[in-house]
Amino acid sequence: MPDLNIDFTVNGRKVARKVDPSRRLLDLLRDDLTLTGTKEGCGAGECGTCSVFVDGKLVKSCLMPAAKAQGADIETVEGLAAPGELTPVQRAFHKTGASQCGFCIPGMVMAATSALRENPNAGIEEIKERMGGNICRCTGYTKIFEAVEIARDVIAGKLPQTALNQDGAASSFIGHNTRRLDAPSKVSGRLKYAGDMDMQGMLHMQVLRSPHAHARIVKIDTSRAEALPGVHCVITSEDVPGTDGFGVFVHDQPIMARGKVRHVGEAVAAVAADTVRIAREATRLIEVEYEELPGLYDPEDALKEGAPVIHDYAADNVVKHIPVRKGDIEKGFAEADIILTDDFSTQQVEHAYLEPEAGIAYVDHDDVVTVISPSQNITHHRHMLSHIIDKPINKVRFIMSPVGGGFGGKEDMIYQGMLALAAMKTHRPIKLVFTREESFIASAKRHPSRTHYKMGLTRDGRITAIEFSMLSDGGAYGMSSEGVMRKAAILSCGPYEIHNLKVDTRVVYTNNTPSGAFRTFGGMQAQFATESMMDMAAEKLGLDPFEIRRRNMMKAGSLTHTQQKLNSASIGTVLEAAEKACRWESGAPTVRGETRGDLGGPDTRQPCTLGARFAEAATQIEKAKVAS
């Protein structure tokens, strides 16, 4: 390919590079200049982890062909402050705890810096608008807003520099707002995530993924891919030396498809090559012959007689059924004055951590197969990998790199096995970084659920019985499904003491993207149904929503749904705390929004109407007119 000569300035230094004309500014910064503070979260301009200044204007470097940098003055997060120093914006982020996983933070710092450069007096609404192109998945943005406002006021001299310091010393470090130790490295872009790491002689992996939801693999021919110059190895399930299979509860997933594929995006083969581009080209040369099989896409269908079987070990497609029984529900419903039944459903949800999956594997001088990755469970991963590659535990080593957001989505060992195999086959370090699209189709999601609910209550709002039945779509592999169903069942009926209940949670295999661990592990899906029912019951009975919850809440000595005796239960305290804090106006939930007196308080925000800065600019123009 013809090269492109580019001369430009980065962080005040002149740079000349000869690059592939296909490169983006992001690639130029990260790969050619090792300025890895600029991250790639999506590659499509949708997340802002790659924001940099080009001639003073903030842009998304993943949307900018490198050629456009010709003659430009580029400023990256590394250039904001001298090494070892931090700008007021960065110090404010440190102060407020605005960085959590930190992966979005270099981009956030850039967006905040841009907002304050564009308008040093920007109000919070304008700041929010100006930062609207940067996604954060951890912080809920709140501490970020706080940081930008503090930085603005310090820069403007309205707050002293000391406003950026850590809160004063305490008599104890427990309960103290100690600033995050990892924040300086995150706000300055210095922290290396797995995708930022580099090793001598490192090769790059790309993965061939299934285009089918359910198909038998008739044949895989890797010869053309292996013949491509620059390719070092192609691996398939044939290369697994030990007992293939991983999973959090049941080891039903091979590290690459074995015999058949069970979901779109399942890894089928992987290539290690000198560059990502060669590896990607090689994946297209792998010939896979598939024989499509009937697929299952609805969990109800999975339970039908004669449904296609996804895994031979589970002929009924049931991954797990968790029953919980307490008391006598027939008696309970007989005692009820009213009985409510309803159905609820929740959707499949993506973790959307800003850091896509990434890792490096190598075989060290002691023949230890080592995998560096943002794994949420290195202990379990090394157990599984030792079986898969047939090595003793002490010859398998997992290093947990800084995790750029996990939320449960990085508990599954969906790529580390491929990296280990390729490293063993080539004795070279191998790196794999998922694209955002790969992360979407290959990683587990929050279980979508359907819940049928029946609740009996007395006229005074006491729950006499609950029947709760949830069906979840586990997708193609078991992953954390069993545990998710267990937690959903245990927590199902909420923080209430229910004397009679019958709870069933079931999860089935389908050919959809797998579901797995996701923050709350089934607890959210179950309690969404319960808490909706509580309000519906409160309306029917004319009770205040807090009151109906108090009448049923667990107390010290209560028996939980699984009949565990509680030593204490703080539900009464938290109900009261929330009720007081929000100045709740009591009353039954009978669509009384219009008549409430507790709305729009100082502890709420203004509704967002776009154009805050335009409105301000217009006001300034008006003022200027008046002045002239």
Partner: protein, 305 residues
């Protein structure tokens, strides 16, 4: 992944037209390039290889804008952020800043061009409805016997369907001419799945001028996007209102009409429901921009409810 063999950045229009005319088949012309990179990814076009990319952002003739009497020539490299920041444009194109505020985000607006948005011809493209209300005319240039020749046609005719335009091979869209509308109130309504960096389900642009009394619609221009294969101007509603006394009843009556026009392939019911409310809200907001008092929340009612 987008790959290409050559990436060219001509600096004059003539050079640009020459390299574009000479570019191998399958080459692409780019300005901001904010659409092409996301397009060449899995789930959309997948990996794409182009023989050549011709980037027009360094073409000197295509920078900036020029006020020409009651028209404004917006050159092809005008990016959306300029409509939010340039005081002259804010004054002359009163609905463009509101459109720009809703368009993508602050960063993409630094690169994405209005003309590029028009040429992409997305049914939900945010830039099209305001340009239609501004009687936009696109200028297309090509080389003929070594000389630059141009033609102009109304944007309403230029965009023929989703992603389809009257742009011919070898042509480059060099500018869009729009009406200077000083004294009009402008507004832009949009709904998507959130409020930043999001594709419109429906969007609606308005320009309104009242008479000296402030009680009569002296002029009104409305257009709507996201409801069919291409954004459209609502001429018949404008006719209903132009010269009429501004009453809530009249606006409500007029607002009911565009629901009939919804011809999208998906979410039809939703789009119909939103459309009427949007026309009314667009008129109301444009009046507010003209200095009418902001209706109190209590007054701001949907009349078709």
């Amino acid at each position: 992944m987008l790959t290409c063999d050559t990436y060219l950045m001509p600096t004059t229009l003539k050079d640009a037209l020459q390299v574009w005319a000479d570019a191998p088949e399958g080459s692409r012309l780019v300005a901001g390039a904010t659409d092409i990179l996301p397009w060449a990814r899995d789930g959309r076009a997948g990996d794409v290889h182009l023989p050549c990319m011709v980037d027009i952002t360094r073409v000197s003739e295509l920078q900036g804008y020029e006020v020409q009497g009651d028209r404004v020539r917006l050159n092809a490299n005008m990016v959306f952020q300029q409509f939010l920041e340039d005081e002259t444009l804010i004054r002359l194109l009163p609905n463009m800043p509101y459109c720009a505020a809703w368009f993508a985000d602050d960063q993409i607006r630094q690169q994405a061009t209005l003309v590029g948005n028009i040429v992409n011809a997305s049914p939900a493209g945010d830039g099209l409805p305001p340009v239609l209300t501004l009687n936009g005319e696109i200028e297309l240039a090509r080389l003929q016997d070594g000389a630059v020749v141009t033609r102009r046609l109304p944007v309403a005719d230029f965009v023929t369907g989703p992603g389809r335009t009257e742009l011919d091979a070898g042509e480059i869209a060099t500018a869009v001419y729009v009406d200077a509308m000083e004294g009009y109130g402008g507004s832009f309504q949009k709904v998507g799945m959130r409020r930043s960096l999001v594709i419109s389900a429906v969007c609606c642009a308005a320009l309104v001028r009242t008479d000296a009394s402030g009680k009569v619609f002296e002029d009104i221009r409305l257009s709507i996007g996201g409801i069919g294969p291409r954004p459209i101007r609502l001429h018949d509603i404008e006719e209903m209102l132009r010269g009429q006394e501004m009453t809530r009843e009249l606006v409500a009556q007029a607002s009911l009409k565009p629901a009939e026009l919804v011809a999208s392939r998906s979410r039809v019911e939703y789009r119909r429901a939103v459309t009427s409310g949007f026309v009314e809200a667009a008129i109301e907001d444009a009046l507010v921009a003209l200095g009418a008092p902001k209706p109190e929340p209590e007054q701001r009612e949907t009349l078709n409810a």
